[in-house]
Symmetry: C2
């Protein structure tokens, strides 16, 4: 049995203390470099694979400094501070530059924590939507990574005509790994980035765009992940401001049971 | 004329390449250590004071690893990658630990960019609200830093009785520096953190809580800052998920003219 494409892509080999080796996987290719979600998951994997890890991920911020090239990369993952119940991580991905030195292609931070059972509730109920099985699967085209997900749009599909007629920036969809794979923190980190650029929807105009920085907060614990299993997640994304070359996106991911697993935000470069 | 408390608090002295010295200011004291907003602004100031700075802030993530102590701190601010129009920064604040080594008290990343004029719009209109002059100023109590802001609550005030009766997590308020100070990126970074813990409002129960990580996206450019001047900002904050020790907060800040200046997100530790 061959390993799932997701696991192949996030695989890391330890290289001394606080560092790993990995490589972009062609099955996750985007226009330039790999899909940002899989790169974020790879960076988080440096934390989750670290022998000194405390707890589970609470927050992850990934900054894309340059397109990840096809060769291997070095991932540094450093526990900068370990407290009694929280741990703070800094990560950096580097690749050999033209002059022989290592160039930074990604910087990141993460917080992990030993969760404790407390009072809790969701203040963002999942919107109502038709069941995923009743909707058509989005046909992957253009970028290879789109084949790695089964996406079924509920609202705010990619415009079919680029006529400048956009009126909102809200997309709602069902999504899961294709083929199915039990949800974990790594796949959740990747899924937070599956939404196409909000500027395309808002303007019904296709302009160059790319994520500069993404932050994901994990509300799921191991039990919530287990309850999610290989089911669909309901994802929602919306832009708040489009201003002189950058727009933001706020996103939520629920499981089929309506539990809010993660909230995510990103700032995206766009042209024109 | 004495310098504004804000400028006193974020002041830094260069210390060789890529590093500065600063100190927590007693005028911004919170329960434990200084108000997180002023610490975030201080970290950003390392970037904005750096001789190699390119452009203006687009994204800032600050992770609070430990309470900042009363002595001085060292702030490293490193341009990890400089592209044609964007620049990626990593920051770390350290203080001497008990064993003589430097302890990490804060990690952070930032992205700055040379903005270009593009198509743009706000997809998050400012809610309607009575003018700030018609509302009563929130009376600072408990924490010293509250005196540094003129806050006027529109909706979702701090509960007056802690009876477990909370029904939502939405706060809306007018806020400005007290005394007035022309808005800049540093004060905007600080203002993104003025909201009291959402868990207090949602539960009408006062439990220990503290920000673990905050990310702010800047939509304002120099012209929008100038238009904001010393006027009030309209701030809105809401929680999305409260789950086993951590809740998130999503926030927006508009100027009196209704321009969306910044969007911000944070994840907050809480007890019980």
């Amino acid at each position: 049995m061959s390993e799932h494409f997701f696991d192949q892509a996030v695989a890391l080999t330890p290289e001394g203390d606080n560092a790993f080796r990995g490589a972009a996987h062609p099955a996750w290719a985007n226009m330039v470099g790999p899909f940002g979600g899989i790169t974020a998951a790879s960076a988080l994997n440096g934390v989750l694979s670290h022998p000194r890890l405390l707890g589970v991920p609470i927050a992850l911020t990934v900054n894309y400094a340059a397109a990840l090239g096809p060769g291997g990369y070095r991932l540094a993952a450093v526990p900068a501070r370990t407290n009694r119940s929280t741990q703070h991580w800094t990560m950096a991905m580097t690749q050999p530059g033209t002059d022989g030195t290592e160039d930074t292609v990604l910087t990141a931070t993460a917080v992990t924590a030993a969760r404790r059972e407390t009072w809790g509730l969701s203040d963002a109920p999942m919107p109502t939507a038709p069941a995923p099985q009743t909707l058509e699967r989005f046909k992957p085209f253009g970028a290879e990574w789109l084949k790695r997900y089964d996406m079924r749009t509920v609202h705010g599909a990619v415009p079919s005509t680029w006529d400048g007629s956009g009126e909102h920036s809200l997309t709602q969809l069902w999504v899961r790994d294709e083929p199915g794979r039990p949800l974990d923190f790594l796949s959740l980190a990747s899924l937070a980035d599956v939404f196409y650029p909000r500027v395309w929807l808002r303007r019904a105009t296709r302009v160059p765009a790319g994520t500069v920085s993404i932050t994901t907060y994990f509300h799921a614990d191991a039990a919530m992940l287990a309850r999610s299993g290989t089911g669909y997640l309901f994802g929602q994304a919306r832009g708040q401001a489009f201003s002189n070359g950058f727009f933001d996106q706020t996103a939520q991911l629920w499981n089929e049971g309506g539990e809010l697993l993660a909230t995510s935000h990103q700032i995206v470069y766009y042209k024109e």
